[in-house]
Amino acid sequence: MTEPQASSGHHAPAGASYATRLARNRLGLWLFVVSDAFVFVGLFIARMVLLGPNRPELLQGLGLAVTAMLLVSSFFMNRAEVEMAHGNRPAFLRNIMVTLVLGTIFLVGVVGVEWQLAPFGPSDGAEGAVFYSMTGFHAFHVFTGLILLFVVWNNGRRGLYTAEQHWGVEAAAIYWHFIDVVWMFFYVGLYLMGTPA
């Protein structure tokens, strides 16, 4: 919901400079990230209150695998951004494509596999509620992140970013890292903490 497109001061005589707008966009995006973090904190609190020292019975292997995918994808996202900053467009496109693929695998892993294999449904007690809501809210963010990545990839393909001006890439990267960090906490909360009920 941030405004990745530089877009302000539009009726000031000469318009604000790119640097000014970039600073504003950055601040705006970071505020959004902080704001969004409250949702996840809220979910985590709900998990602590409802499950306490227990945790849902999940497929440890699968959890580890998708988590690794997401972590690695964040690495490639970082690479993509750095390549763009160096003006290396093909490398940027390659890296962001890898990020996209890994992100998609993560999404399929959670929603397509774990959701189907979990031994409980959303309405089966607090475990179901907690597990499906935490993964669901996160998956929705991953999904929007993937759309954003795709848009950025597509615009990058058309050469809309330069080494100096690539706020879109940076925004997608910040958002993607944020999603990744959130998952690290959720992974601990869902897979590692406490004992299976």
Binding site: H11, G42, S133, N155
Partner: protein, 646 residues
């Protein structure tokens, strides 16, 4: 008809179409999953969600973002089509912060009108001890038929009975008024902040317009609750009752959720605007005081609001999919809901008032012709209030059955809020002292605000000490407390603000005579209303009841409250008449009507499209009234540079 080419009309059509598509979509999904296609709640909720999205697409909020996603350049320039009448700007997506501010304001007033009308209905009912007004007769008048099993929308019962109708009206009154407040806050920060700090627009105009338009489907969905059986939980929507309430509950949850999105987006915009777009020379300590209030408000809004959004989604999910978050019999925890809810809704009450207190601080110096007493303290006290308000939420839960030992720290933190609030009051008194007070209508409302908000404030501590709250909680004492705080902290100040900036918005003057009538009707009537509520509450009158035992002796007071309520409503009608008539026929206003030092009064009235043709420079203190030759702003700095901001 020109109206049919406005964004609003397209949005409404899209919303209807989207709702139908959404319903069909859910039904198709259900069939695929091997379930019967029709199930009232999921299908209608699906339609409602898609409909809201469709509204935003239809109105054009996403246009530029879609273009951007397709790699097209989007223009930053505001283009005003000279062939279109200017009113049309207000019914379409427009990026001018002044237009958006007024859009917010109008919708806010409409919501207040709805909320007020609901109040008139249930207040009439409360005038008598029994259930004498909201009976089946009134249903026949209102709905055209007697309630009974009817209809697709209502699925069995429109409003099954008088008690439920009362509960729904009362709950809607609460939440619609609060929605009205949130939009009113948006109106003030959007219209005022850029002008006060010398910017020509907000930092993210697209986001700004999106933040306004998302309220429209939000408000429509919220109000439509009444058509789907209403909801009888009060505005707090505590489960498990909220899980059993009629379908209207979902409209409440989702409508508030949309309005919450608006709060978040708007708040981010305000923060970035204030932090990065101030005029040259305007340090934080030289900002007009309202900007401080808006900043503190935005900090509360952009963070805490997320939790109510989350919580309401969890309730929606629990109702739709049976995910037991809050139902204790299935593993959930009803207290968890209350914690999450109040973690937002307590800070939210300061969202309601901080801008209003900012207006008071902004207007007092102008009418007292004196500097704002203790500027720095007033500015920081807004942040003090905001900060403390994150740690007091559980004072609404002293009797809820949460862990008993937790109550003590919350009592301490709650009482501490009195301190920064007190600082404001003392500063206001200091500002008035030895002034040359002009009693124009805006000033009357400012003075009214101070007294009323004071009354609301000092009734806070008895609610904050636990053992007295054991008696007060869920009685009319609390109702009196918060009507005082909300009228004193929002309703009166926004009325003052509208009178005060009316010439800047329209270029015309309102009628002083009607304005005075408005005040002298509303202020005493409100004093009666709120003090009566406080007294009834102490005597044990519970909240949210449609009838009460006649032998408790509450009758005469309730009659008086109802009359007072009607007087307030009537005076607000005078207000509406005043501003609607004056906007069209009022005498033309001077540029600087109030002899204010503030930059927005140094430009033409009404404010031109691009506020400041040339960036100005701050050369003095904002409120140095009484000091000769000490301008605040230099509107034509020599060699004025081309950047609007730094």
């Amino acid at each position: 008809m020109r109206f049919f080419s406005t964004g609003l009309f397209r949005g409404l059509v899209a919303q209807v179409a989207g709702s139908v598509v959404g319903m069909a979509f859910v039904m198709a999904a259900r069939v695929l999953m091997g379930e019967p296609a029709w199930s009232r709640e999921p299908v209608i909720v699906g339609g409602m969600i898609i409909g809201a999205l469709a509204f935003l697409v239809g109105v054009g909020s996403f246009n530029d973002w879609f273009k951007w996603a397709r790699g097209k350049q989007v223009s930053d320039e505001i283009t005003v089509d000279p062939n279109k009448p200017s009113w049309m700007r207000y019914f379409s997506v427009d990026y001018d912060h002044k237009v958006i501010g007024i859009q917010y304001g109008v919708v806010s007033m409409l919501l207040l009108l709805f909320g007020g009308t609901f109040a008139m209905f249930f207040r009439t009912e409360l005038a008598t001890a029994g259930i004498d007004f909201l009976n089946n007769e009134i249903f026949k008048v209102l709905l055209g038929y007697e309630p009974g099993p009817v209809g697709l929308l209502s699925g069995g019962a429109m409003m099954p009975n008088p008690e439920h109708f009362f509960n729904s009206l009362m709950s809607l009154h609460g939440i619609v008024m609060i929605a009205g407040i949130l939009l009113g806050v948006g109106a003030m920060s959007n219209y005022l902040v850029p002008m006060l700090i010398g910017a020509n627009d907000m930092a993210f105009p697209r986001l700004n317009s999106f933040a306004f338009w998302v309220n429209v489907p939000g408000a429509l969905i919220l109000l439509s609750s009444l058509l789907f059986g209403g909801f009888d939980t009060g505005w707090v929507g505590y489960p498990p009752l909220a899980l059993r309430a009629p379908l209207g509950m979902q409209m409440f949850l989702f409508g508030v959720y949309l309005i919450g999105i608006s709060s978040i987006a708007g708040a981010i915009n305000v923060i970035v605007t204030i932090l990065t777009m101030r005029a040259k020379g305007m340090t934080m300590m030289k900002m007009p005081i309202f900007a401080w209030a808006a900043l503190a408000t935005a900090v509360l809004q952009f963070s805490a609001t997320q939790l109510i959004g989350l919580t309401f989604q969890l309730v929606m999910l629990e109702r739709l999919l049976g995910m037991p978050f809050f139902d204790a019999t299935a593993g959930g925890d009803p207290i968890l809901y209350q914690h999450l809810f109040w973690f937002y809704s307590h800070p939210a009450v300061y969202v309601f008032i901080l801008p209003g207190l900012g207006i008071i601080s902004e207007l007092l110096p102008v009418f007292a012709r004196k500097p704002l007493y203790g500027y720095k303290w007033v500015a920081f006290s807004s942040f003090g209030i905001a900060l403390i308000s994150f740690f007091v939420w559980a004072h609404h839960m002293f009797v809820s059955g949460m862990s008993p030992y937790l109550r003590i720290p919350f009592m301490y933190s709650t009482l501490l809020v009195a301190v920064p609030t007190g600082v404001k009051f003392f500063s206001w008194a200091g500002t008035l002292w030895q002034g040359k007070i002009k009693l124009a209508t805006p000033m009357l409302f400012v003075l009214g605000s101070i007294i009323i908000f004071l009354l609301g404030g000092v009734t806070g501590p008895p609610a904050a000490t636990i053992s007295t709250d054991l008696h007060i909680h869920d009685t009319y004492f609390v109702v009196g407390h918060f009507h005082d705080t909300m009228f004193g902290g929002f309703i009166f100040p926004i009325i003052a603000a509208i009178y005060y900036w009316f010439p800047k918005m329209t270029g015309r003057m309102y009628s002083e005579r009607l304005g005075k009538w408005h005040f002298w009707l509303m202020f005493p009537a409100f004093m009666l209303l709120s003090n009566g509520m406080l007294l009834l509450g102490l005597q044990g009158m519970r909240r949210r009841v449609v009838a009460y035992d006649a032998d408790l002796g509450f009758g005469p007071l309730h009659v008086a409250l109802t009359i007072a309520g009607f007087v307030i409503f009537f005076s607000m009608i005078l207000f509406a008449i005043n501003i609607i008539r004056s906007a069209r026929k009022g005498p033309e206003a001077k540029d600087n009507v109030w002899d204010s030092r503030s930059p927005e009064w140094q430009i033409a009235s009404p404010a031109p499209l691009h506020n400041y043709a040339q960036p100005f420079e701050v050369v003095g203190e904002p409120y140095d009234y009484g000091l000769q030759n000490s301008p605040y702003v230099n509107m034509t700095p020599a060699g004025g540079s081309a950047t609007a901001s730094h």
